[in-house]
């Protein structure tokens, strides 16, 4: 049993990355009816930008601050600056290239955003080069603890806790706040909502920005434990859609359950059946779609 503990923690860490990515995609599709294949590129962008900023901050003020103060600087970068910067990029893209796609059929949205992800992938390759980028400074500063004879870093646990706080906040947002309720209403019928005098376009933009920021944050939290390479977004695209499809479109609960399922399957899978860990995820996705086409918790849209 003790052997399984690190895998269990890895599963939760994996699940939190997928949750942040999948939820963003899910609310953007479920609430705004926009099928964005390029959403996973915001995760990759978040990872790249945070790696650069952490590297830059370490070089610029690394020696002048104490460990604790430096860690705070890193946290500000990861939780405020990165989601902020990526949101601005995402908003710029929304205004220019996504806006003309809203009226199109889902199929054509998928195709056009496939074009967008190709452009984003190459742009990232242009900026950060083809070599893998890593920046594990925040994780290293946090250190680790002894777990069944090996050192296990604190960072994944920290990331999981942060994600749990975000999930709770999101739940509160949709259940309790005015904007959240309007969003849910828009998922049902945008036209009726707009008739009541609510500026649906501004709600649209807010929800979209939240989705992008979540994906960017997912990239920032994922970063210290991974090496970021081009092709990362293409890899995560399918996982993001797996979360979406397994959980059910636009369902927060579904996104949580699906991310956990996939996280566990991937982590335990790569321990017990290393060859097939990813394959199991897609088999699960196919099975869910065959048995319950709307996903485990999807009932908003058929």
């Amino acid at each position: 049993m003790a052997q399984q503990l690190p895998i269990l923690l890895n599963s939760l860490f994996r699940a939190s990355t997928l949750f942040l990515l999948g939820t963003g995609l899910s609310i953007i599709y479920g609430m705004l009816n926009f099928m964005n294949l390029a959403h996973a590129a915001f995760l990759a962008l978040g990872a790249y930008v945070s790696a650069s900023l952490i590297q830059g901050a370490s070089n610029a003020i690394g020696g002048t601050l104490g460990t604790a103060a430096m860690f705070v600087v890193f946290l500000v970068i990861l939780f405020v600056i990165v989601p902020g910067v990526i949101s601005v990029v995402g908003l710029g893209m929304e205004q220019t290239i996504f806006k003309p796609l809203y009226g199109l059929e889902d199929d054509y949205q998928l195709l056009a955003t496939f074009g967008v992800i190709l452009m984003m992938e190459d742009s990232m390759k242009f900026i950060w080069g083809g070599l893998p980028v890593t920046s594990s400074a925040p994780s290293n500063m946090l250190g680790g603890f002894n777990l069944v004879g090996n050192t296990y870093p604190y960072w994944p646990i920290f990331a999981v806790v942060v994600t749990m706080v975000i999930a709770t906040t999101l739940y509160y947002f949709f259940e309790e706040t005015r904007l959240g309720k309007i969003t849910l209403a828009m998922a049902e019928d945008e036209e009726v909502v707009s008739v009541t005098g609510i500026d649906t376009r501004s709600v649209h933009i807010k929800v979209y920005v939240i989705g992008v920021a979540l994906a960017a944050l997912g990239g920032a939290l994922y970063l210290p434990n991974a090496s970021i390479t081009t092709g990362l977004s293409l890899e995560f695209v399918i996982l993001a859609f797996a979360v979406l499809v397994i959980g059910g479109l636009g369902s927060l609960k579904g996104a949580i359950v699906a991310s956990l399922l996939i996280g566990f399957m991937q982590s335990f899978g790569s321990y017990y059946v290393p060859q097939l860990s990813l394959a199991i995820v897609f088999l699960l996705m196919a099975a869910v779609m065959l048995i319950k086409p709307t996903g485990l918790f999807g009932d908003i849209k058929a």
Partner: protein
């Protein structure tokens, strides 16, 4: 083919062959047959044309789903690459080296994969169909990647030059002679044969049924068409002919890897070719495949960031001209006709 379809096909054939595009196609095909022997043609041009033809087969097949049945697939890499891998693995593990045995093997593999993946996917439409095809197609990519002891993993599988009807043309003629003398014609004939067969399918009652389903699945169901089953058939036919393209590409390229053959972005490329050329016409995807390969070969010489350019073009096409190049051509033709007619009236 049954009797009652023959009349429909014959009329459609007569109607289409006498138009300007019909005549142009015939001229182009004749030109393609003469290509290796034209004075200015080198090995590169033959290779490029063969590549276009291989992708054109897959793109026409892709359009059976997208254009005729109204289904977007992100899983076609599984058929394209599945066929190529069947060819490659058979060559690796058996002594079979004969192209006329390997082609049917590739086609059968693609058909089998399409039958399985399609059976599961056709219960859903639109995004769900696209994503289910994507997920199931991606399974094949992962399996090929992970079982590297059998499949070569990321290194891929070399495709050695096959014998043609028992004769080793590579030994006789060298590579240039083999490419321009035998392989090119096999690919060209496969293209012509696939195009003719698919054209007949799409102009038969079967094709009409698919179009009915595309336009309104509910109405199709109401008049007694088993919608799921026909979508499944369409997926299999599309898969089989995509497999023809995949096998041709494998022979032409001489080497296949999971990333070039089975990754889902390859499916996206096929979708791109189809949309670029135009989903609304039968030969649109051929134009799209040609444009794609030509743009890519030019772009690759200018920049390593050619994916950016392809993505940009795809985006522009969908936003500004969803009917693709043939849509633009049709608009230009209509504008010219209207202008001529107006002048006649004045």
């Amino acid at each position: 083919m049954s009797q009652n379809t023959a009349t429909g096909v014959a009329t459609a054939l007569k109607r289409n062959l006498t138009t300007a595009p019909g005549i142009a196609s015939i001229v182009l095909i004749l030109g393609a047959f003469a290509l290796p022997y034209l004075p200015s043609t080198g090995q590169f041009e033959v290779f490029l044309t063969a590549q276009i033809l291989a992708f054109a087969i897959a793109a026409i097949a892709y359009n059976v789903l997208l254009g005729y049945t109204g289904l977007l697939s992100f899983g076609h890499a599984a058929f394209f690459g599945g066929s190529a891998y069947a060819v490659g693995l058979v060559m690796r593990y058996t002594s079979i080296n004969e192209i006329f045995l390997l082609i049917p093997i590739g086609i059968l593999a693609a058909g089998a994969i399409a039958a399985v993946i399609g059976y599961i996917s056709v219960r859903h439409t639109e995004v769900y169909y696209a994503l289910l095809m994507l997920a199931l197609g991606f399974l094949l990519y992962i399996v090929t990647l992970k079982f590297y002891t059998y499949t070569g993993g990321t290194d891929g599988v070399p495709i050695s030059t096959p014998t043609v009807a028992g004769i080793n043309y590579l030994e006789l003629w060298g590579y240039a002679g083999y490419l321009g003398g035998v392989l090119y014609y096999i690919i060209l004939l496969s293209f012509v044969l696939s195009a003719v067969l698919l054209w007949v399918f799409m102009n038969s009652p079967f094709g009409l049924t698919l179009r009915t389903i595309r336009d309104s699945p509910e109405r199709a169901r109401a008049i007694g068409i088993p919608v799921h089953r026909y979508r499944w058939y369409a997926t299999i036919i599309s898969g089989v002919f995509t497999g023809v393209g995949g096998a041709m590409y494998a022979f032409l390229n001489g080497h296949i890897t999971p990333d070039t053959m089975l990754h889902w972005s390859r499916s996206g490329e096929l979708a791109f070719m189809t949309v670029l050329g135009g989903t609304g016409s039968f030969f649109g995807p051929v134009v799209g495949a040609g444009a794609f390969i030509l743009i890519r070969s030019q772009a690759q010489q200018i920049t390593e960031y050619w994916h950016f350019m392809m993505g940009f073009v795809l985006f522009l096409v969908i936003v500004f001209e969803p009917q693709g190049i043939t849509g633009i051509a049709k608009r230009v033709r209509d504008a010219v006709t209207t202008k001529l007619n107006n002048r006649g009236e004045n």
